[in-house]
């Protein structure tokens, strides 16, 4: 057997999942399982109880909801990649979803699972930072929202509380999010990003009026890059201003160094991919 022993239970409602979680200190929620099961096979994760939430159909919808798009946390990467609503209102998210793993992984893996797991080398974090997403979490004390800027707080660590379930991802409908993209330099076997860069950008008469830049895979956890943002904001959009802004990528940030890609190379590639993303939007 690969994984350590655990008890398995299926939750039939969000409320039941939350109360099962509250009753069991050492429990994990199972959605698509494409982050959790590999971790359990390596016994890096050894929950006593596995609460399967994959049957909660109310969390599998993507819809327009007034001023924002609402994405249920159990939507698969495939759904997010193919959703016309996401493609036209926040293409950075469908870009990211379409390059996660491979077709089989995208069939099973979910956006909520990936964001709750918050692997430093995941794709959604960079894209959701660029899109200024809002996360909806439900827990024993009710529902609350968490802004993306407050969400990624450490290595495999998010602002979600121990007993909370991520139920929804909200992306505002606006022209800036509609002009967004996510580009990535993937590890050729695992397809995790060495560098993943999400950008959303608005312009007025050829001048950058606002920009958000998020990086995945570069640091110990995903971060917004205010150095790139502030260098381009207010500037006319051209090759030279974009190159100057891209040159600030990951400046002052702690950058990963591993046996595949050195810190120096990752920094260089962060600049290249930031530039590509900004060029694509200008």
């Amino acid at each position: 057997m690969y994984a350590a022993e655990f008890d398995y239970v299926r939750a039939s409602s969000i409320e039941e999942a939350i109360s099962l979680k509250a009753e069991n200190d050492d429990s994990s929620l199972l959605a698509g399982g494409h982050s959790l099961i590999p971790a359990m096979k390596l016994r890096l994760s050894t929950p006593q109880k596995l609460i399967d939430i994959s049957g909660l159909d109310q969390l599998k919808k993507i819809s327009k909801n007034g001023s924002h798009i609402s994405i249920g946390s159990l939507c698969t990467h495939k759904q997010c990649a193919e959703s016309e609503i996401i493609q036209s209102n926040c293409p950075a998210l469908s870009d990211a979803a379409s390059v996660i793993g491979d077709p089989h992984v995208r069939t099973k893996g979910t956006i909520g699972g990936a964001l709750a797991h918050s692997d430093p080398q995941a794709d959604y974090p960079g894209a959701t930072l660029a899109l200024n997403a809002t996360f909806v979490a439900k827990g024993p004390s009710g529902e609350r929202t968490i802004e993306v800027d407050d969400y990624f707080i450490g290595l495999w660590e998010t602002a979600l509380g121990e007993g909370e379930l991520l139920t929804e991802i909200r992306i505002a409908i606006n022209s800036m999010n509609a002009n967004s993209c996510y580009v990535k330099f993937p590890q050729p076997a695992s397809r995790y990003p060495y560098v993943g860069c999400g950008v959303s950008l608005s312009s007025n008469n050829g001048t950058c009026s606002d920009i958000r830049v998020g990086f995945s895979g570069v640091g110990e956890w995903a971060f917004r890059d205010s150095g790139v943002e502030s260098t381009l904001k207010g500037q006319p959009l051209n090759d030279s201003t974009i190159a100057s802004a891209a040159d600030k990528a990951a400046e002052g940030k702690t950058v990963l160094n591993d046996h595949f890609v050195s810190e120096e190379y990752r920094r260089a590639m962060s600049k290249v991919y930031a530039k590509r993303a900004m060029m694509q939007l200008s």
């Binding site: 057997m1 690969y2 994984a3 350590a4 022993e5 655990f6 008890d7 398995y8 199972l30 399982g33 494409h34 099961i37 590999p38 359990m40 096979k41 596995l50 399967d52 994959s54 793993g101 491979d102 077709p103 089989h104 992984v105 069939t107 099973k108 076997a189 695992s190 397809r191």
Partner: protein
């Protein structure tokens, strides 16, 4: 824990430990050893099967998650001894060398052709991104999938 599922048209019911992976259940409990275990890290695709008509990696799914599902493995593709057109195409185009990745390659290819019956070479290569051939025999694998697409369009 009791689970039941339909595998290659046959109903099964078994009592298993919740930590049993779907690929272990198929290979060790049902003795369907056509599905291989390769990398064990969700990357290589040797364990690709169809769960409710979609290609998934059975090493990254618990058997309990497939409770109630309809499953097809490589053993279930042939129809009354007649090989599936994708299996035939792999035979005819030398789409395998050592053969270890083949069951997964074929299951992934069948799923891909269902969604895209007439793929370009580039689409085939992208569609098989989740399946590795460590003999690096990709050239003939792509050729096989192309040939299968043509023969399936011909009403095979």
């Amino acid at each position: 824990m009791k689970i039941s599922m339909k595998v290659n048209g046959v109903d099964y019911e078994n009592d298993i430990e919740p930590r049993t992976l779907l690929v272990q259940y198929l290979r060790e409990t049902l003795d369907l050893t056509g599905t291989n275990i390769g990398c064990d890290t969700s990357q290589c695709g040797a364990c690709t099967i169809h769960v409710n008509g979609e290609a998934v990696k059975s090493c990254t799914m618990l058997a309990v998650q497939a409770d109630g599902a309809t499953i097809t493995t490589i053993e279930g593709l042939a129809n009354d001894g007649e090989l599936h057109p994708v299996q035939k195409a792999f035979c005819e185009n030398h789409g395998l060398q050592c053969g270890y990745c083949t069951p997964g390659m074929i299951m992934a290819s069948v799923d891909m052709l269902k969604n895209n019956p007439n793929p370009t070479e580039e689409e085939i290569r992208h569609g098989l991104e989740g399946n590795f051939c460590r003999c690096t025999g990709y050239h003939n694998i792509v050729k096989s999938v192309k040939a299968a697409a043509v023969s399936m369009k011909g009403g095979a």
